[in-house]
Symmetry: C2
Subunit: 405 residues, 2 copies
DNA sequence: ATTTATTTTCTCGACTGTCGAGAAAAAAGC
DNA sequence: GCTTTTTTCTCGACAGTCGAGAAAATAAAT
């Protein structure tokens, strides 16, 4: 269904456009903004004046300039315009970060979550307390927080901020909007972790100027995550995190942590590899956690020619390759970025992956998708958080603009 | 990347909105348009005046009215504003239709395509000649054709009108834009057949007022087609036709018509079912064509308790069910509409489908997707053609509007 | 020191668009 | 013929973008 437009919406969209240009390039002068956005100079004047009035951007003072002519005045997002909180939930710890509107990290601490398998309720309390602590340490008021961006592995509801299933909490549903209550003015966002990796990679690729249509990020670890970024008709990136790890691979993959049989993860997740390598029956209940050193040992064995270990990695690679072939059958060919702790075994997985990929019509018609490696997953996740949260905040500001009279 | 907006774009969007309201509801009065679109009465006056000036809409004369007050004047798309040609390419025949801008069918004929396995070049000539014939029969000039909408089974390029792979022409790529040359003013659109079914079903659902997020259409026949309609962030339906039939199902499915092994189609397509029922080795080269009577015999056998026939349908259902479970793993849960000639065996497939679906985490978490039946595939395809073509034409008219001074 | 050239920012009027209110139109009821 | 009712049309206010040119501010030239 189409929806009606109006002159006010035009201003909103163009304001958001200006903000996004400033966010991407840092600090820009009037003329540069005009060039980047394609808007007329007069329009830039009007929009920057408005954004400055409501305190979203400010003239940056230091003019490092040679050249003649009237000196440029640079605009940049006003860093103390507001703040965002970023929370990364992983199986062993929860990382809380505070950044300003300029995207600069101000504070960060981790909380181990060894014992609170007590469940969601206990976690909820600790979570709320940690946010308080973060604000207190930096002396920032709750009203100045424009967004709380949370990430976890698992399945996230498309709307709202509900965690439907996660390796950490299982089926216990977690609604972060409820959990935080209505004391928070800012928006509360929940994203799948690997979605954020895809987001970060897509933004990187765009800044490099490549005009790619879509990309996928696959995170290898105890579980398998997938993030997808596809350019929508409007030119924006649509990111999503389909349930790749628990897509059905083949019955032979055995019992998965989720309770089903034959998930991709059951073959390609750490516990799956371990099970195959040690020839444990495939319907054995999966290990809760496999230390990296354990995996390293298996990998070392595989590299030294130990048959069963090599076979385990090969089977994992095959599961991934076939999974990716299904992915591009159901979407479209796109480059794949592999990341996560399992990346260090990429050499052992690669052969199986290629073999799996070869099996699909699409690959045979259009060639193998490009498979690249993306190190430093944690940094990418954090970058994705900031991208997404600050873009959303920019949108809010552009929308609010004319109301704040 | 966001893109700049302007007041002219506002008019374009609102014009398109008015046109789409008129297209959906037929003929509407000034006040009704305002109600439907949410636009102010004054705006409706301006837009309808403009659209009437360029000849896209006209006041419909017959006022069937009681009630007092000033009589309404109804606007409706002006049927002779232009024409669209619809071409359905199927394995045994090509159907050419001509409809006017109001969506009314004016002329139609079929051409058998028994012998022209000569290939794309010969087909191209016959195709162009058929379009000429269609115009001649109705006395319509080429310039009045606003769109040529073509459909086929197979893989269609996301941009342009290129058929990348099809059961009819195989790997021989067919570019309909080249094929028709530059003598055609209107736009040339190529869509996968089942995509159009999804389009038609989505429009039907929307007119019924249901607010569904997404749906999938699966066409069962000699090959297996999938059409997907998902509501994008802007509220519009995004339709696509992923390569479901040639997604890898399981190696056991045997040799597929596309040359790969283990496609969904190799198990669930007519030739796959036939192969299993007759216990032909699964790497036998698939039958080019299986007559429906042949399939009916196998189905009759299955219904009377013939083991191997029942097994064949069950395996086909299983392949579909597992395929759908992968689909909703990689997208989201959505209702499934089954259509196509294979629909008549739905009773035999159903059990296997449900079994396959049960295996995924998502189904276990969120329940079975609704599986419904959509009869009359050909009508749906035609409706989808008109929907898509006329919507595109409406967009063109809204865009052109202010230029045609 | 003054002038000139250059570059950037700002401002003004024209244009396009939407909206609300009320005038005008056209039919039915009295 | 007058009133009531309903719909359409029109007018002025307001919001936004754009192009052109004025104004500002500096470096180089004289």
């Amino acid at each position: 269904m189409l929806t009606k437009s109006s002159t006010e919406l035009v201003r909103q969209q163009n304001s958001a456009l200006v903000l996004s240009a400033l966010r991407r390039r840092g600090a820009l002068a009037h003329t540069e903004i005009a060039e980047q956005t394609g808007l007329a100079s007069a329009t830039i004047s009007a929009i920057t004046a408005e954004l400055e009035r409501i305190g979203a951007i400010a003239k940056s003072e230091h003019h490092v300039q040679g050249g003649r002519g009237r000196p440029r005045v640079l605009f940049a997002p006003k860093r103390d315009c507001g703040y965002v909180i970023v929370v990364r939930i992983s199986s062993d710890l929860v990382q809380y970060s505070l950044a300003d509107y300029g995207g600069v990290l101000l504070d960060r601490f981790d909380e181990a979550r060894g014992e609170d398998h007590a469940g969601a309720v206990v976690f909820g309390r600790r979570f709320a307390a940690a946010l308080e602590r973060l604000l207190e340490r930096s002396g920032i008021a709750r009203e100045q927080v424009l967004a709380v961006s949370i990430s976890s592995k698992g399945l996230v509801a498309a709307d709202g901020a509900r965690l439907l299933w996660s390796p950490v909490f299982g089926k216990e549903e977690l609604d972060f909007t409820d959990l935080l209550g209505d004391e928070w003015r800012g928006r509360i966002m929940l994203s799948n972790e690997t979605l954020l990796v895809a987001q970060a990679l897509a933004v990187q690729a765009e800044n490099k100027g490549g005009a790619l249509r879509a990309l996928a990020a696959i995170s290898l670890g105890h579980s398998i995550g997938l993030g997808l970024a596809r350019r929508s008709r409007s030119g924006e990136f649509d990111v999503s995190a389909p349930n790749f790890g628990h897509m059905l691979h083949a019955a032979s993959a055995g019992l998965c942590r989720c309770g089903a049989h034959g998930c991709v993860e059951a073959a390609a997740g750490f516990y799956g590899i371990l099970r195959t390598a040690f020839e444990v029956p495939s319907d054995t209940i999966p290990a809760k956690f496999v230390p990296l050193v354990e995996m390293d040992k298996i990998a070392a064995g595989a590299r030294q020619g130990h048959r069963m270990s090599a076979y385990a990695f090969r089977q994992a690679g095959l599961a991934l390759g076939i999974g990716i072939s299904r992915l591009i059958s159901l979407y479209e060919p796109m480059p794949i970025f592999v990341t996560g702790p399992g990346l260090r075994y990429f050499d052992l997985l690669q052969k199986g992956m290629e073999e799996g990929l070869q099996q699909s019509l699409q690959v045979r018609l259009q060639g193998m998708p490009e498979v690249a490696v993306a190190a430093d997953e944690q940094q990418l996740v954090f970058d994705g958080h900031l991208n997404r949260a600050l873009t959303a905040v920019d949108g809010d500001i552009a929308t609010a603009g004319h109301q704040a009279a």
